[in-house]
């Protein structure tokens, strides 16, 4: 009711705000009044030496999401906006619209390093809608669930576990979580405290001696049989490094139970590109793919493939040829610089393929 009145007022205000909209004026006063998803970092919690949890309060424009899904988080770092996906590590609180994401520092990771080292309470972030089906079943009170996670793969699982606890769900849970050692076990204390008759949580360490009752070593079918003999009758979730993902999915495939396993992978593979090499160029709108060398502009490649992309000066100054990069990286032919973020607009008249790329053309 209130929301629809506000919307009507804003639409009327657009006549005063043209060619912008009324929301752009409001967010000049307070960025959280934007009609785009924005959030304020309320608290930071240091989980391990290289993992931090952000508790974020979202504005009304953000659509919300379910624990276990991932949200796209946008951060302005030295003036440039970067987007990264992080799992919701908690349910979204209905009243305050608070939720948390937990970010593990990656080697050379610009955004994860920034979040761990520079982000402060009170900073603002950009939010896009959540996505993903790594969520609890809708009917869950009489369900039997199995969570398997390793390293920072615990974050979406923790989101679901916290949701089950918050709603006092009757679901029966077995969880098996791997970390290299206790110091790097994210949510260690909370996991220990959450262990109960109904939610049996097993910790395993791979590079340290296991303490009382904990497991040692990597995932194996025997280990699973030992902690969860009825795993075949459970809805299972796995999230972690690719070695764990493939071990678990092979086990379920062998048992003919793949449909009972939900998987969430964090890491996307980016090929190492030798200096000056080109690659395959995909044009997703036109549905074409061609080979290109590392010195022909993507505009010429597109034209060679029979496309007629919008363009202007063909020398990198008018920005009339900007196209959205879907995947991969490009090389600026003027400077030799290799760059590219998914979703970034690139001047195709002065950029060439640096490895495989796909463009929204």
């Amino acid at each position: 009711m209130v929301a629809s009145t506000v919307k009507k007022l804003l639409r009327a205000g657009d006549w005063l705000a043209t060619p912008l909209n009324a929301a752009r004026y409001l967010e000049t006063i307070n960025p959280l009044w934007s009609d785009h998803g924005r959030g304020r970092v309320e608290r930071l919690i240091q989980e391990t030496p290289d993992t931090v949890t952000l508790v974020i309060r979202a504005n009304g424009a953000w659509a919300g999401g379910e624990a276990g899904q991932y949200v796209q988080l946008g951060l302005d770092i030295d003036g440039v906006r970067y987007w990264r996906c992080y799992s919701l590590a908690s349910p979204v609180q209905p009243g305050s619209r608070e939720f948390s994401v937990t970010v593990n520092r990656l080697d050379g990771g610009r955004v994860s390093t920034y979040i761990n080292d520079c982000l402060r309470a009170g900073d603002l972030v950009h939010l896009k809608a959540t996505a993903g089906d790594f969520v609890l079943p809708a009917q869950r009170d009489d369900q039997k669930l199995l969570f398997i996670s390793a390293g920072s793969g615990v974050t979406p699982v923790m989101g679901m576990l916290r949701q089950l606890i918050a709603e006092r769900s009757g679901a029966d849970v077995v969880m098996l979580h791997f970390s290299p050692d206790y110091a790097h076990c994210i949510f260690h204390d909370e996991l220990r405290a959450s262990n109960s008759e109904q939610r049996r949580i097993h910790l395993a360490v791979t590079r340290e001696d296991a303490r009382d009752g904990d497991l040692a070593g990597h995932f194996s079918a025997d280990m699973l049989e030992q902690v969860c003999p009825d795993w075949r009758s459970r809805q299972a979730y796995v999230c972690g490094p690719s070695s764990l993902m493939s071990a678990v999915s092979e086990l379920f495939l062998g048992a003919g139970l793949s449909s009972q396993l939900k998987q969430e992978a964090f890491v996307l593979k980016r090929a190492e590109v030798p200096e000056g090499a080109g690659g395959k160029v995909g044009f997703v709108v036109a549905g074409k793919q061609v080979d290109a060398d590392g010195k022909t502009s993507l505009l010429e490649v597109a034209e060679g493939a029979g496309l007629t992309p919008e363009h202007g000066c063909r020398m990198g100054i008018c920005c009339g040829c900007l196209a959205t990069l879907k995947e991969g990286q490009v090389r600026d032919l003027n400077t030799g610089e290799v760059f590219g973020e998914s979703g970034e607009k690139v001047r195709i008249c002065v950029c060439a393929a640096a490895g495989d790329v796909s463009l929204e053309l």
């Binding site: 006549w15 043209t18 060619p19 003036g79 440039v80 202007g312 020398m315 009339g320 607009k345």
Partner: protein, 366 residues
Amino acid sequence: MKQSKSRPLTREQVDQFGAELDALHTRVRDDLGQHDADYIRRVFAAVRYTEAAGRVLLYCWFLPPLWVLGVLLLGLSKILDNMELGHNVIHGQFDWMNDPYLRGRDWEWDIVATGDNWRETHNFRHHTYTNIKGMDDDIGYGLLRLFPEQRWRPFYLFQPLVAVIFALLFEWGVAIQDLRLGRYFKGKMAPGEMAAAFRPVGRKMRRQMIKDYLVFPLLGGPLFLPILAGNALANIMRSLWTYMIIFCGHFTADVDVFPKSVMNGESRGQWYLRQIRGSSNLRGGKLFHILTGNLSHQIEHHLFPTLPANRYGDIAPEVRAICRRYGVHYNTGSLWLQFGQVIWRILRYSFPSKPVPVNRVRLLAE
């Protein structure tokens, strides 16, 4: 006939010249960051706040000084929106920020001209074919004769009057520039084609008119007319200022215009050279530069149109030093000196002039 103030360069010199400017460009581009992002967002906020303040003050008709202040603030806001914000963002100067709000391709500004038309006439035609006669429509905007290279016609005798009317209605002139009405009147464009080209322009004009001349005045109730007048004055203020600054950028006494033949095999260095010889700067203080959208650094802007304009002032001394070393004339002066030269051109070339030798302007020495 006056010779160009720049001496022709050898091919090697031109290449070297271009390489030095490329290096300067790379250095600044690599240095872009938070400072530049903060700057353009501050400009955006300044535009919005001055606009809001100006529009509110216009409702103070009962206190005339406040109403006058309202006109000035709204005019200032429209000038900033037009120049330091709109013009520069539309060039893609802040695309590196990856912020959809500041993306050149999608930007719309508070002026009757559409961003799309501007991207075509200005970003592409004017900046690529700067001062090439027959390619760059900005040479006289199809309305004025500013260079002896343009053929004289009797119509140009009315030019001093036409120029004044054009200045007052400059935002409208810019709005219809891309329609190329001349071609339509010569029968080179079908009515249907013209109607289709006009549709988005008409929509933008309508919305701008409804805002400034209907909705805001209506909100004033009995103050309808004073508000309407205030908005009209602010728009005229913007038109006069932008006209003056833009004309000073390419129509001062010592700028060169070029024949189409310069484009044959033009190297990057030659392109840079043409940009410098076709542009002129304005001297002034920091606030003045901001109000011109840093087009007071027209030369730097034409060399590096996609570099954030707040950097032009920093690199100007280096560009000037490079020009001095190669004997390339760096055209700069006060607003009054430069605009005086523009007025002189408008008056002088309303009358016939002696034909110009074909290859008067040479970029290369051989």
